[in-house]
Amino acid sequence: MAKKSLQRYLAKIKKDYNVVLTEENYKNIILEELESPPSLLDYFRDYMEKNKAKITLEWGCLMFLFIKADEEKYAPDIEKYYRLLETYTPNWFTEVGLAELQLRYYGNVLKARDGFLKGLELKPDDAHCHYNLGFVYHLLGVSDKSFEHYEKAVINYQTANKPKEIKARSLYNLAVFKINVEHDYEAGGRFLKEALALMPRYPEAKRALKQMRWLR
């Protein structure tokens, strides 16, 4: 039975993506598919090493198909391959992929929170998880935790896929907190300027700074 499904996955990968996965190449192909950031590649090298007795070519196929479903943002396949991968040790990529699905597709903020927290357990100090938790806690109306996670995203921004963007967006959100919640316009202005130094064309930050000047 397991052999049959493996053959099916291999055939699907060959047909849909023109890639031939083998026992010898699947680990490298997964790393190639993940591309970046370096911290994620290091994480997966470590994951594959620690779980070498458990992971198989079937895991490689399922991970490959999960990555593709995630790239294509195709919700039913993300869920399908996540479920099939549940028999293996959890990994950061699938947990965070599912958390993003819960948030962006279903709007299930509490489940998304749990997923990003799990992601953080698997890859501590991960800026992507901190950034998303900042956003999730903002939606949940838990401002102090939102601020805390945005701050940590700023500190650990280099672990993210687009480090400058994550840092700039986190700084913008810190500014919004300072302005809206604490009415601290000075600190808010400082965060906005820092965000604009990293991403000079950041429209929301530009607009907010303009509004602040107008208010004064």
């Binding site: 597709y105 279903y106 709007g107 903020v109 939606l139 949940l140 838990v142 401002s143 919640v181």
Partner: protein, 240 residues
């Protein structure tokens, strides 16, 4: 994200003169429940300046309340009053909080169950005495209810929160008018973003205060009044 399901499509709700936009069927129902929760905490001369809550607890029946306000019986929302009343012993134990709406600040949250409450689990695991665990838990701001502590969720909102609810629905409807959403997540995030924006904007309904502060203040007062009332009635509750 590519759309596949349509089961949680956005909804519109008609509350008297206005049509409002809401992201889910659940939130439409919650609006009605929040209004009822708020109404139950507003004292009225028809009930000798008691709140409907107090009157129902004293008389162990909602008849006085419904007779004083016969319009309720004719309203299409009457079945929801049945769902929330009468107020039995269950109302006074800690589990009662999971039957509450959490008010405007939690209007888009799903139904909260005890199994989701990690703070309660934590307190139970740290304290052998269950009462002590509940005592700490009820005062601790909770992620499940927009940082409101369980005791304020249990207490419910009042007149100001009721008025703010309509204000927020108008605000949200203005903001999302003619907007199209790709996924249920997209409409939910938009609704929540607008809620979190609105809650910090100074509002005339609460004398220029930010709605979030006014809501907490009012719930504090309602909690105080409810606690005093239950103590006077010699009714034991986990929330006092």
């Amino acid at each position: 994200m590519r759309r596949r399901t349509t089961s949680r499509d956005e909804e519109s709700v008609n509350l008297g003169l206005f049509d409002f936009w809401l992201p889910t069927k659940e939130s439409v129902e919650k609006v009605v429940l929040i209004q009822i929760e708020c109404n139950l905490n507003v004292p009225s001369p028809e009930l000798n300046d008691r709140t409907p809550y107090e009157d129902i607890v004293i008389t162990k029946s909602a008849s006085n309340y419904f007779n004083a306000f016969p319009i309720i019986k004719k309203a299409p929302t009457f079945k929801y009053y049945h769902q929330m009343l009468p107020l039995s012993e269950k109302e006074f134990v800690y589990k009662a909080v999971y039957s509450k709406t959490g008010g405007i600040l939690n209007i888009f949250h799903p139904k909260i169950r005890e199994s989701m409450d990690s703070e309660l689990k934590k307190q139970f695991s740290q304290h052998e005495d269950e009462k002590e665990a509940i005592r700490i838990w009820k005062d601790t701001p909770s992620e499940l209810w927009s940082n409101l502590p369980p005791k304020f969720v249990w207490a419910g909102g009042g007149k100001i929160e009721g008025e703010l609810l309509l204000d927020f629905l108008q605000y949200l409807t203005r903001k999302v008018r003619r907007k199209e959403f790709d996924t249920p997540g997209d409409s939910m995030i938009t609704a929540l973003r607008n809620l979190r924006e609105w809650q910090f904007i100074s509002n005339e309904i609460c004398s220029g205060m930010a709605p979030v502060d006014a809501i907490v203040e009012e719930r504090k007062e309602i909690y105080k009044r409810k606690s005093a009332f239950l103590q006077e009635m010699l009714i034991e509750t986990d929330f006092v």
